[in-house]
């Protein structure tokens, strides 16, 4: 397995996209932190980077990469290697490369400009989002044979997690405005890893006071150690479940 991961990693690093992604993140981070005179605003801008750019790049890059590695996968599958290992190695290689890019591009600037618990939490959430969206991308690409369709699905998924889901939540909030929905919202937000990480980081930035009663309910949940553990488990589930399904599908896939 290590060997396959090594080859996947080497291949991704030779592919310049990840390098460009790293540079893009680096430039963004440094410009955000040096332009914003207010540090918490800088953190908020970085939050936007992690919840928009990271899922987008993770999804689209991974999907394209899987399609472009069809030959490689075919070659590996005809070799005496278990498919599960091949697939998990592909996942690990992709995730590791993108995580590394995030760590260098966002993690390091964060720790240079804003060392502290918030930086740790934001880096963690970026890493989680990478792991989650690579898993989702793998699931999308194993389900569809056609490359164009697969990339389309990846972009749609990104739209769903970044915009449509929140639109839906807003719609629900107004439909059920007469009911106390705060507690339900905790559950609903866990249906979207992007929301989950955003809320968690915002609470860390002490925006909870602005969130009124909802914020209080959220803080009661997400602000506690138990809440953080549960959130972490949820995020982990968001990575593991798609990965598990995609592994099963790949196991039966005709190449």
């Amino acid at each position: 397995m290590k060997k396959i991961i090594k080859y996947v990693l080497v291949d991704i690093i030779q592919n310049r996209i990840v390098l460009i992604y790293t540079l893009f993140l680096l430039v963004t981070s440094f410009s955000v932190f040096s332009l914003e005179d207010n540090s918490s605003k800088g953190l908020l801008s970085m939050l936007n980077v992690s919840i928009l750019i990271v899922p987008l790049v993770s999804l689209v890059f991974s999907t394209i990469y899987v399609y472009n590695s069809a030959e490689f996968l075919e070659l590996l599958v005809s070799q005496p290697l278990p498919r599960k290992k091949i697939w998990l190695s592909l996942y690990t290689g992709l995730t590791a490369a993108l995580m590394l890019a995030f760590l260098v591009g966002v993690g390091i600037p964060l720790f240079v400009y804003e060392p502290g618990l918030t930086a740790v939490l934001m880096t963690m959430s970026g890493l989680f989002l990478t792991a989650i969206f690579v898993a989702i991308a793998l699931l999308a690409s194993v389900k569809t044979r056609d490359k164009a369709k697969g990339i389309g699905i990846a972009i749609l998924l990104w739209l769903y997690f970044s915009i449509l889901f929140d639109g839906l939540v807003l719609f629900l909030l107004f439909q059920f405005a007469d009911y106390p929905l705060e507690k339900w919202m905790v559950g609903i937000s866990s249906l979207n890893p992007v929301d989950l990480t955003r809320v968690m980081v915002l609470l860390q930035l002490d925006i909870s006071a602005m969130m009124g009663y909802t914020g209080a309910v959220f803080k009661d949940f997400f602000g506690t150690d138990l809440g953080r553990i549960i959130t972490g488990l949820f995020l982990l589930a968001w990575a593991i479940i798609p990965l598990w399904i995609s592994t099963r599908l790949f196991h039966k896939k005709d190449l």
Binding site: I4, E71, E74, L75, L76, Q79, P80, P82, K253, L255
Partner: protein, 236 residues
């Protein structure tokens, strides 16, 4: 050695393999022939475990291949169209394959030298011509001294010199008592290799005969003529 039992496979509406049963033994050189789209490649991929049959099962040395991935270490596979990661050089590819195969026995690099691949190890896969890729595929198939060789259209795209080299190599391996499985639609080139013929049409296995039986049955010496005769008999 390889036994397929009632293997069927359907790609959406197309029945690619229809209830195919086949037994192959050590020392045989089987030619799998049939028109384009008759399911030859799919059958091979089923045997390799790259395509999952909808029903039926395949055993390799008595073990169901579904539950045992390691049987592939005994197979050398040369695909119809060799597709390899673009960024790799021939050298990278060879060393990667050696790396992941974890092969302990002796390596068979005859073809690497015969095809002069060793002189172009630095070339990237995406710059190679179709023929050179085939050479790479062939070299890889034989590299680990496997007991079973599965060659999917091995001579397609190869120049006559290379074809001759490959043929000699196949004969050499056959003499070592290996099971060799060849698909081809160009029949004449295989005449002097083959011991058994499997003929497929529209996903069905039409017949599986030894070459002697076939000659006796049709009275033809040349394989392609014998097959042509059979096809005529079938259609009549």
């Amino acid at each position: 050695m390889i036994i397929a039992t009632n293997v069927s496979k359907r790609f959406s509406k197309l029945q690619v393999l229809d209830n195919i049963s086949l037994a192959c033994n050590v020392g045989e050189c089987i030619s799998l022939i049939g028109p384009n789209g008759s399911g030859k490649t799919t059958l091979i991929k089923c045997i390799l475990g790259m395509v999952m049959p909808d029903s039926g099962f395949i055993t390799f040395n008595g073990k169901n291949i579904l539950h045992d991935w390691n049987f592939r270490s005994q197979i050398g596979y040369m695909p119809q169209i060799g597709r390899y990661p673009d960024n790799m050089t021939i050298g990278n590819l060879l060393s990667m394959m050696k790396d992941i195969r974890n092969h302990h026995g002796e390596l068979d690099e005859d073809l690497v030298f015969a095809f002069e691949l060793n002189s172009m190890l630095q070339k990237k896969m995406r710059t190679l011509s179709g023929g050179t890729r085939q050479k790479v595929s062939a070299a890889l198939a034989f590299l680990f001294n496997p007991n079973v060789l599965i060659l999917d259209e091995p001579t397609a795209g190869l120049d006559p010199v290379a074809t001759e080299i490959l043929k000699e190599k196949i004969i050499k391996e056959k003499q070592k008592g290996k099971l060799i499985f060849i698909t081809s639609h160009v029949l004449s080139e295989l005449d002097d290799l083959v011991t058994q013929v499997v003929f497929m049409q529209e996903g069905k296995l039409v017949f599986h005969k030894s070459i002697e039986d076939l000659r006796e049955y049709t009275g033809e010496l040349k394989l392609n003529k014998a097959i042509a005769k059979i096809m005529v008999k079938q259609t009549v």
